[in-house]
Subunit: 143 residues, 2 copies
Amino acid sequence: MQDFEGLLRGLKLKVTPRRRAILEVMAAGSTFLSPEEIWKKVGEAGTNVGLPTVYRILEELAGGGVVTRVLHDNRQLYYYLCPNKGHHHHFVCLSCHKVEDVDLCLGEALEQEVKLRIQGALFSHILQLQGLCRECREKGGKA
Amino acid sequence: MQDFEGLLRGLKLKVTPRRRAILEVMAAGSTFLSPEEIWKKVGEAGTNVGLPTVYRILEELAGGGVVTRVLHDNRQLYYYLCPNKGHHHHFVCLSCHKVEDVDLCLGEALEQEVKLRIQGALFSHILQLQGLCRECREKGGKA
DNA sequence: AGTTAAATAGAAATCACTTCTATTTGACGA
DNA sequence: TCGTCAAATAGAAGTGATTTCTATTTAACT
Ligand SMILES: [Mn+2]
Ligand SMILES: [Mn+2]
Ligand SMILES: [Zn+2]
Ligand SMILES: [Zn+2]
């Protein structure tokens, strides 16, 4: 996870300084970030960028499956640059905002349920786990 | 699902005309509704209510597990009065907004995954399926 | 180097949702 | 039945995350 150029090309997106900077900031940690947090970090790293540009780029990357949207109780959307490909979901720590992969092939069971019982068409599904990661649990994290 | 009075008492909420009216409107259909849609329907049914009151009551009912929050691409929150108790999740039709129960005991597997692999504490999880219900699929629904 | 569609900045707008406060009301017990 | 009071509500106002708009810049390709 460092070939941002190839990554952007794969999504048919131009390789620009803002996109590079956003990817670099997101790749630097394994936590979910708000658009504003990313905006500030990009600025601190020396790249001037507008907040609307951050929002747009994040949605482009989310559409391309490179970043994952993280849902939060406060109704804000957060984003996480996931290095792993293939279908999987995430566990998010409510205290330190760390994101960890969860490999569970629900896909099969869900497809069957919708096909057999509901007899509809399944387009997508959302699965997100939330709690405290190991470290935060051991030190007694908030909430 | 018609004993709204007992339902509200069970949640330690006073039985008021607004709460009754909102429950009646939601029970009248099996689709998810926006706070504004509910507000309009309640008004049309003859009960004057403020929009902030609708928001507040919906969150009270969601907190009590009587209504489910439905996530939508447009970032708005929708609500669904679920008649069934016990842990389960929902399939939502993107065309007609109908909601159907999905009984899948993921709980077990998720608990195990978090306990063994992540070694953290699992507080909650979100699972929502979206697509087209049988009727909408057969008639070629939108999206 | 020229062309062009894509990308961006910055200001402005949007609007779903929340907050605030004065007033009303349902629950409960005397 | 009535008094009490915390809970509930209306309506106005505020909030702020996100979107829209448009003039300008730039990456990609030749
Ligand atoms: Mn992942
Ligand atoms: Mn249900
Ligand atoms: Zn943590
Ligand atoms: Zn449908």
